[in-house]
Symmetry: C2
Subunit: 449 residues, 2 copies
Amino acid sequence: MKYDVIVIGGGPAGVISAVTARKYYGDKKILLIKSIEKGVIPCGIPYMFTTLEKPEDNAMGNMPLEKNNIELKVDEVIGIDREKKQVQTKGKEILEYEKLILAMGSDPIMPPIDGIEKKGVYPIQKEMDYLKNLKTEIQKARDIVIIGGGFIGIEFADELSLLKDTNITVVEFLPEILDNSFDNEFSKLAREKIDEKGINIVTGKKVVKFNGGEKVESVSLSDNTEIPCQVVILGIGASPNAGIASKAGLDIGKSRGILVDEYLRTYSDTDIFAVGDCAEKKDFFTRKRIPIMLASTACAEARIAGANLFELKVVRENKGTIATYSTKIDSLTLGSAGLTEQTAIKEGFEIVVGNAEGVDKHPGVLPDANKVKVKLIFSKQSGILLGGQVAGGDSAGEIVNIIGLALQKTTTLTELETLQIATHPKLTAAPTMYPLITAAQDALSKYGK
Amino acid sequence: MKYDVIVIGGGPAGVISAVTARKYYGDKKILLIKSIEKGVIPCGIPYMFTTLEKPEDNAMGNMPLEKNNIELKVDEVIGIDREKKQVQTKGKEILEYEKLILAMGSDPIMPPIDGIEKKGVYPIQKEMDYLKNLKTEIQKARDIVIIGGGFIGIEFADELSLLKDTNITVVEFLPEILDNSFDNEFSKLAREKIDEKGINIVTGKKVVKFNGGEKVESVSLSDNTEIPCQVVILGIGASPNAGIASKAGLDIGKSRGILVDEYLRTYSDTDIFAVGDCAEKKDFFTRKRIPIMLASTACAEARIAGANLFELKVVRENKGTIATYSTKIDSLTLGSAGLTEQTAIKEGFEIVVGNAEGVDKHPGVLPDANKVKVKLIFSKQSGILLGGQVAGGDSAGEIVNIIGLALQKTTTLTELETLQIATHPKLTAAPTMYPLITAAQDALSKYGK
């Protein structure tokens, strides 16, 4: 069978690639092949255990594909023949493509720790039945250990702390949780919330062994302490799923992701594109590769790839990836975009930092007002925004997108300081004290010194 | 007495001008003169009647002035002698300035309607004691009529509808409420909410007479209907308070605001600046004067004026004002930035419009998810964003600021379509369906047609 476009992967990167391709190329014959029949929305996984009424509420449906006249095949691609422009599947099909989009995602990292193969140790797989089973096991467990204090680990911890009579422990080998995305004063806010909720946090220690018989019964840490557990969740990151790309001779980067150009074409073969977790990413400012694996990043890439399959429709400058995230821990929202202060310094930028604290309503005595804390990092000489972090109520989830847009549009300190904004008592900080503006002013005040 | 800087006006424009001046010019002697001793935060006024526990919670304090070593005088300026560089006050003081900032704000418009002088008819004054008295009268009233279905009128209506056993009627002479800032499909959402709350709305009719004895007892409308009322609130806009500027020979624009350049210097005298409601504004895109009177706009101007008093520190391009607002009606948030579709067409722009609907959490079945509706208006040939509107939950209050920044940074359809964003299940729409992106895509899909 011959297709104009074949997309491998049914996650957000694959689906959005296919849907975008359809938008731009109405007549093309498009096929999406996915290996997981019943997938889930990746970012919603932590909330399948208590917040959502039933795990099925987080199902990744096929509607966008059906609506856009995209053929769907549940099968696993096991090889790519670039010369013949064919893919072979486990189901023994040979399918021809004119353009191929690789959106195979990533696989959870399984560190070589003694006993990791025991029952009860769960990497996070994006598969409905697997996660439904995990939910059952979680409900039976009295003690749960989460390994990894990044976003996923912390979101799982927050969610599982809603279960009564379950002890939750997060083990993070870095000195702070959320250490890659936030400076310490922000990760401390997260830690305070986690502490309040009665979740145990162990930082600066590694898991060295999973103990028990067939089933895990406890984990041993690097300081010889032992934590009992019936369920272990591994939230320590993922590795690009680039095996078939590598086998097909496509260049793979040092992050193990597939090397791509600004249009998401693979370096080795311009008829093959790679998007999302399986593709290597470059940082917007440092130009170095960064291990960002986010559905939102994947979607942005997929939109560019889908548009540029047969013609370069969307001119893509060498912009790179802004690491931009948000998370919610209990009532606390944290967001980060671009470089943190610690990363900026490590990467050799001369910077000036602005901080602001305020409230997200005005006057601050209004019901449900939350504290808001903003930090902005600027390149000292050029005055260009390099990154920002925000902690606050729910609206911080969009404030971080203001910072993200400012980064993508190369915005200066002065532009932020004189920004025109919409403010409202029940929705935002006061116009006199809007935290993005006051943080820019704080940075400015440091220039004289 | 001689000052380096005199600021006339104690509202947000005045205070932020003075505070910014202090930031940039540490040694200067700065005086702020205000005629109202106990002012209020303007945007908080509607919420002084039920939401805030006590009216004093919305007081405009003097702390920012004290902290920044700015002298304060409660007095009324009655004249400016530009030759001698002096101002005269009602309290018979003569004060010399080197730089003068006019931040006198605006006065409520009092239309020449028969009976408007009656007791019980309240224009909105930004004065604590006046508003405390209004609160008492409101609490005693059984029937309240609000004239004007713009932001202020609608916010008052929403707030006063929380009072039990009070009939609220809003009278708007335009065919829709919020008609200046939103296209119909958005103002209709507002109207639905208002209807749900049991507030009466009368549109397309004018008030022609206030009836009663010394005190108002009813209003007569242009269709001869009569609405009983013990309190009338006038929310029909304000007029620049530029009397002393005009008397001093400063040029006044057709909007009756003081004419200023990009640095907020008056056209007539570069030692005199004018900011906020008393200064004329130009629209960002049409370059025409627009009657925008918002604290947030005033603050943005004040920051530019304060910085540029003695030296031009902040280079200011001829950007003009983005009309950007947000409001909340019950649980519905509405925001607008830039041109609406109707305004863009009226002004002669060739446009393409993109619409999107989604939810502000993902999956949409998460508790407290709100529908989000976004509309973006682009210049057809250049692809540049001209305006946007959003309706949704609380986070729409910051989504409109993403649109506002995109306008100020001249952002194209393609840039928005491939925007990198932070998304989170509990905080935003899904990365696959983020409404600013899907609205841009919708606009794009219309190009072929």
